[in-house]
């Protein structure tokens, strides 16, 4: 095999596939990247069996062929190459030569036959939407994914294709983010799947622009086709909790807040949030909102925002991170905060289809469970 291509194209492709390499796997082949040259294209693929990514780039194929090379080493070599053009030659013993300008490398590969083939999704459901749209939906929800491994059904986002809508939901059991966008597909394709966190992260990295992303869902697997990039992932096996039940049907009050102002105020006050209970208090009074935090023996912080509010005064406490996460990831200047009382979940919305439910901190007598 022999190909000539630009360093730039190669570096870009490596950026796409590099994260999926598994170095601690008992299977040495999973530490390698599949490299394949044919029909004027070079394909690079990596997989850890749970996820696989493949990137295709144009190349001058002098001699078609394939091999696998130790991924991390190959990638670090490519990044450092001195010239804009790279020549990659692989002999039939899988010994690879990389030449660029004055640099010359020789590294040993392994036969491509050992590289696990990407699954074929037969009899699949297919969907298509703009890459930027999916990326945006993930960005507005993914921060709420649970990182607790014991709650494995929450270790990912729910993708719910139903009633000509795509609903994306993420929750860690204490707050929940949901976005909904119209999407056309045949009704018999309706399905709920849980996309694991690792795939969500990789996907967010590669989605870009108005080009479509094709989504195929098969038995326990999902694939995303971005044209020059193809990614598959296992799905989380399990049932997502009944998330609609925890979204309050109606709130008794609504407050309009400037997103940036609220975010920076919470961020400042949170510096003195109790390290153990991690909470900031929002006290709603006559046309003002006081955000406060205190830690016994350390100190306290307080900040007041002017709002439009004349109803009953009350205070509610939240984990400041749970407040800040959506504020950081939304666009839009204003957010709406819906509430009922100090015990019921608060709901954050803004002028696009988005719902964020956040459970308050509740005062408990000392030592109680």
């Amino acid at each position: 095999m022999k190909v000539i291509l630009t360093k730039e194209a190669l570096v870009a492709a490596l950026g796409v596939v590099a994260n999926v390499v598994s170095n601690r796997s008992p299977l040495p082949i999973l530490g390698n990247a599949l490299i394949k040259a044919e029909d004027g294209k070079l394909t690079i693929a990596t997989t850890d069996l749970a996820i696989g990514v493949r990137a295709v780039m144009p190349a001058e194929v002098v001699e078609a062929g394939a091999t696998t090379l130790p991924a991390k080493r190959f990638f670090s070599i490519i990044r450092e190459l001195p010239a804009p053009e790279v020549t990659l030659t692989v002999d039939d013993k899988h010994s690879a030569t990389i030449e660029s300008g004055s640099a010359y490398y020789k590294i040993m590969g392994m036969p491509q036959e050992e590289f696990p083939p990407f699954p074929r999704l037969d009899g699949t459901r297919a969907f298509s939407l703009k890459q930027a749209q999916l990326k945006d939906m993930l960005r507005r929800t993914a921060y709420a994914i649970s990182t607790e491994e014991s709650r494995y059904v929450l270790n990912g986002v729910l993708l719910s294709f139903k009633e000509n809508q795509l609903t994306v939901v993420a929750t860690d059991g204490r707050r929940l983010a949901m976005v909904q966008e119209p999407l056309e597909f045949p009704e018999e394709s309706a399905i709920d799947v849980i996309l694991p966190t690792a795939a969500v992260n990789e996907l967010q990295r590669v989605l870009k622009g108005d080009e479509p992303v094709g989504i195929s869902i098969g038995q326990n697997q999902i694939a995303f086709d971005l044209g020059h990039i193809y990614m598959f992932s296992k799905l989380v096996d399990g049932n997502y909790p009944e998330y609609r039940r925890v979204i309050p049907a109606a709130a008794t009050g609504r407050i309009v807040l400037e997103r940036e102002l609220l975010l920076s105020a919470v961020r400042r006050v949170a510096l003195l949030a109790n390290e153990k209970s991690l909470s900031v208090k929002l006290s709603f009074g006559n046309n003002n909102l006081e955000i406060s935090a205190n830690t016994p023996d350390i100190g306290e912080a307080k900040e007041t925002l002017t709002i439009s509010y004349t109803d009953r005064a009350f205070a509610i406490a939240f984990n400041p991170d749970y407040l800040m996460d959506p504020l950081k990831n939304l666009d839009g200047d204003q957010v709406f905060f819906d509430f009922t009382n100090e015990y019921e979940p608060g709901v954050l919305k803004y002028n696009r289809p988005f719902t964020y439910v956040i459970m308050p901190m509740r005062a408990t007598p000392s030592g109680a469970k």
Binding site: G173, V357, T364
Partner: protein, 359 residues
Amino acid sequence: MRKIIHLDMDCFYAAVEMRERPELAGLPIAVGGGSKRGVICTCNYKARQYGVRSAMPGFMARQRCPDLVFLPVRFDLYRATSQVIRAIFHQYTPLVEPLSLDEAYLDVTDAGRYAWDIAREIRARILSETQLTASAGIAPNKMLAKIASDWRKPNGQFAVLPEQVHAFMAALPVRKIWGVGPKSAERFAARGINTCGDLQKLTLPEMAAQFGKWGEELYHLCRGEDNRAVRPHRIRKSLSTENTFFDNLTTLAECQEAIDKLGREVLDDLRAKVPERRIRNAYVTVKFSDFTRTTRQCVCTTPTLEIWRTLLAEAWQRKPLPVRLLGTGVQFADDDSDEDDDHDSAQERQAELFAADEA
């Protein structure tokens, strides 16, 4: 390359009883299982000829062998005998890992003699000091040694030499691998996999893809590869007690009474045996009349009867069925991890969106 001996007493409890009561010679006997719903702990070879097996409910054993003599379990007696046996083991190596009263792994790599001879000598000494027979398996690792001790049972020994491992494994039924139960064996058989040799044809990616983490382990086990060391001091991870009731309990009040009794036992044991250990959580196990089992646990550093009672009330509600067995216990915190053990003192608690069993 290690040299491991797995020593396994032959029908231990039954053998001890036969030694204590010579008048039982020649009769089929079972230890345990004599009460209305107990299960058999051990039975002698005579009883096994009738199809009686350990863990079999007493009534079933009686159907198969009407003359079966049921004897009550006398743990103190078995424990005393077990101590004699362990003392013998320790004269050959400090690396003794007891698995129960009647079996242990010995690492004799550095004993400077043939493991075969050591095993034979240990078995002879056990016989002369306790009048009981034992079987031994000798192999380069724990898994193979344990399989081998079963090969010439009773009162025999069998060695798998390093150069024989390959042929031995190729012919070994998959069912013999630790962790492959009847269900998995059935599933393997459906795919034409009967021996470890058949299983060896699957590649590591295939195994990992089909069986996950367990697949990786299986890949090595079916090749006779097992790197686990003999660990003389296994750290206790939990402490518990349970009871199967003579008559099923039908009311919560009955269960609570029983759980208090079990809870007191655990508290006494904690004080007596491991007062220094930090506790991570407390749990309650309930087995219903349909034999399904459920467990309810909570984070807890100082268990009380009250806590177990609360857990019981939640577990009890899960099925509208009479209760056959109850258990209480605690799990210990890892001593080397420094968990924040006073996070309970916080004045505020994060509320949850979902009920505990929902997500």
